[in-house]
């Protein structure tokens, strides 16, 4: 208990859902308010800029569908990260896992001699496996050798990113692509279909939403989910209870990395139809998914909605770039600010502010003391 003037700050152990939602919304709002300074800097009226972005993004179905399109990889990566964060495993590597999935899918699409009908399913399968393998490495490194998970997952992002660069500049460079660092275009049987009039590759979207519910069920209703939560919340108790950390963390990272891998499959099979430089394939989805998962407070289903919010920010970034002529880097600043305020305001959830007169507190203290 703390007193500031007439206000009494009381600790609150478990905030209600409404509080969590309100505080989260408040932090996003304040971040957007502060970010409007950027618009000032570019000589735009922030209010008008936001209004123009709102009209631009929500104005028509094709432009709004871009929000959905951007949200697809964020849902898949974000759901995977909620699982990892619940186990207190710091998977900062969704970016690399996504690229691993994209690479494996490209391999299947271009080089594996399979019947047309099997091609897409195999791309998703191998994409999942590639992401999973890339994610299990840091899990094993941490359990067996105590290698810090933040570092290993981050470093693997760079490693994967340069592998993709190497592939598209070297062995996989498409002979028909002249000077460009692309692979050849995928055959039609390796491309995902769109919702009419959009670039929403709906199959990946459905997959993402369905898997969010599967992961939520896994966490809340299964023995393994229980063990994951114990490993995250009270590792000492977990060890005492004989939980196999290697198994649990490996499983968590297989799913987490696998989902990011699926996101990569969706991007190459749905949007690009080829492998190209990592910055074009991902644009930082893996990093943004960290904020998606954090804002969702570890709930896979909530991650669907927070992913939509950041899909909106990406779509707004596209709009700002093409219509308002603002650089795309703005989205990075927005993302950083939102994350700052999100964690900065966390403290509001665990303290309740009450107005109270001095004497009351005195009575309470003396009672407690007696």
């Amino acid at each position: 208990m703390k007193r500031i003037g007439p206000f009494l700050l009381e600790p609150r152990l478990s905030p209600s859902r409404a509080t969590v939602f309100l505080v989260s919304a408040l932090s996003v709002a304040v971040a957007l308010l502060l970010a409007s300074l950027i618009f000032w800097g570019y000589g735009l009226n922030p209010w008008r800029a936001y209004a123009a972005i709102g009209r631009g993004v929500f104005g028509s179905w094709p432009s709004f569908s871009e929000v959905l399109r951007r949200a697809i990889p964020l849902i898949l990566c974000g759901v995977g990260l909620t699982l990892a964060f619940r186990a207190q495993f710091w998977n900062i590597g969704a970016e690399g896992q996504l690229l691993a999935g994209a690479t494996a899918a490209t391999g299947v699409a271009l080089f594996l001699p399979v019947p047309d009908g099997l091609r897409l399913p195999l791309m998703f399968l191998f994409g999942f496996l590639a992401g999973a393998v890339w994610a299990v490495i840091p899990a094993l490194l941490r359990v067996k050798l105590g290698v810090n998970d933040v570092i290993s997952t981050l470093m693997l992002n760079y490693v994967m990113s340069y592998i993709v660069e190497w592939l598209v500049h070297g062995p996989w460079k498409g002979p028909t692509m002249r000077g460009f660092a692309y692979t050849d275009a995928f055959p039609l049987s390796a491309r995902l279909s769109y919702l009419p009039g959009t670039r929403v590759h709906w199959l990946t979207l459905v997959l993402g939403v369905a898997l969010a519910f599967v992961v939520a069920f896994l966490l809340a209703r299964t023995r393994l989910g229980y063990e994951i939560r114990v490993v995250g919340q009270n590792p000492d108790a977990g060890r005492y209870a004989g939980i196999n950390f290697t198994l649990v963390l490996s499983f968590v990272m297989v799913i987490s990395g696998g989902l990011a891998g699926l996101a990569g499959v969706g991007e190459v099979a749905g949007i690009h139809w080829r492998l190209r430089s990592p910055a074009h394939i991902s644009m930082g989805y893996g990093y943004t998914a960290i904020i998606v998962a954090w804002l969702a407070r570890g709930s896979p289903v909530a991650a669907i909605f927070t992913a939509l919010l950041f899909g909106l920010i990406f779509a707004a970034g596209d709009y700002m770039k093409t219509v308002l002529n603002l650089p795309f880097q703005i989205t990075g600043v927005f993302n950083g600010l939102i994350l700052f305020f999100l964690i900065g305001f966390d403290i509001l959830m665990f303290w309740r502010v009450r107005i109270a007169r001095k004497e009351k507190e005195g009575v309470w203290t003396s009672q407690a003391g007696s």
Partner: protein
């Protein structure tokens, strides 16, 4: 080119490339010794790099540029300190946010400055006398900037401060056991603030070195993950400023070789070397038992609340 001159220039450039890593690592060691992980090094370095470049280009004074880079790094770190020490926010997430924000902001502000060479870079020194020593002279005492030598000197000073003075005891006890330090009358909050801000200051200079000395120009994302290597180096150096010297120059050599060997191996594969090595090195130190991990500050990553255990 004969082998001797190849070796000489390789060592000399490796030394030059290790400098930003050394500065960044020394700073992170201090922050982590006080119990605060700052994953924002990448963001602070890139902000430092941009600031140093912009100020130097506008004023023609690289010293002023580096000073401003230090200031920006410190300011960014102050933000991290406020969030993690005062508001007790999660240190990992706050640092990641700082890195995202820094990379975004530097990219945004730096668009107009992209690709222009710097008119007045930090001058290289030739140490009179010492540079005449055969082989060692051109390796170590030519074509380095003053920041190479200040960095190494600083490592010694910071080691002395940390392990041989009362202040060092205060810093280490705050990182080991803040409750005990508090009971002894050490101001935990103040020590943590100072160490984090000092860390940001050094990271800012490290970033500034890249844009006004090593490669006098500005390109978006020019820190290229060095900030993350710094985090790995901090662990690799077992939170010891003297060991940071070896670590930084080892990785400097890796970075440099990844440019140097491009005639033999494709450049993309070479560029992933430092990152792969960072994992390998940490894994190897894991094989060496729990020796290094045991040396991690006891309260690393944990916010301190008086009265809570």
């Amino acid at each position: 080119m004969d082998i001797a001159s190849w070796l000489i220039s390789t060592v000399s450039r490796a030394l030059a490339f290790g400098v930003p890593l050394l500065w960044g690592t020394l700073g992170e060691i201090y922050a982590e010794r006080a119990g605060v992980v700052n994953l924002g090094v990448e963001g602070m370095m890139i902000l430092g790099a941009f600031t140093a470049f912009a100020v130097t280009q506008s004023t023609g004074n690289p010293g002023l540029g580096l000073l401003c880079a230090a200031g920006i790094g410190a300011l960014a770190a102050l933000f991290h300190a406020f969030l993690t020490v005062t508001l007790r926010a999660n240190q990992y997430v706050s640092g990641l946010a700082l890195s995202m924000f820094g990379l975004g902001l530097a990219g945004l502000l730096g668009r107009g400055w992209e690709g222009k060479p710097l008119g007045t870079p930090l001058p290289s020194l030739t140490i009179p006398g010492l540079s005449r020593i055969p082989v060692l002279g051109p390796m170590l005492f030519q074509d380095q900037t003053i920041l190479t030598y200040i960095g190494i000197f600083l490592a010694f000073v910071l080691w002395l401060l940390l392990f041989r003075t009362r202040w060092g005891v205060a810093i280490r006890s705050v990182g080991e056991s803040p409750g005990t330090a508090d009971a002894l009358g050490i101001n935990v909050t103040l020590v943590r603030y100072l160490c984090v801000v000092f860390g940001g200051l050094l990271a800012g200079v490290g970033g500034g070195y890249l844009s006004v000395a090593y490669r006098p120009s500005w390109t978006e994302g020019m820190t290229a993950g060095m900030g993350w290597i710094v985090i790995a180096l901090t662990i690799f150096a077992a939170w010891d400023p003297l060991q940071a010297i070896w670590g930084a120059f080892f990785f400097g050599a890796l970075y440099h070789l990844s440019y140097r060997l491009q005639a033999f191996i494709s450049p993309e594969l070479l560029k992933l070397m430092p990152y792969l090595f960072a994992i390998v090195v940490l894994a190897l130190s894991g094989f060496g038992g729990r020796r290094i991990r045991r040396r991690a500050p006891g309260a690393l990553g944990l916010p301190y609340v008086r009265g809570e255990r």
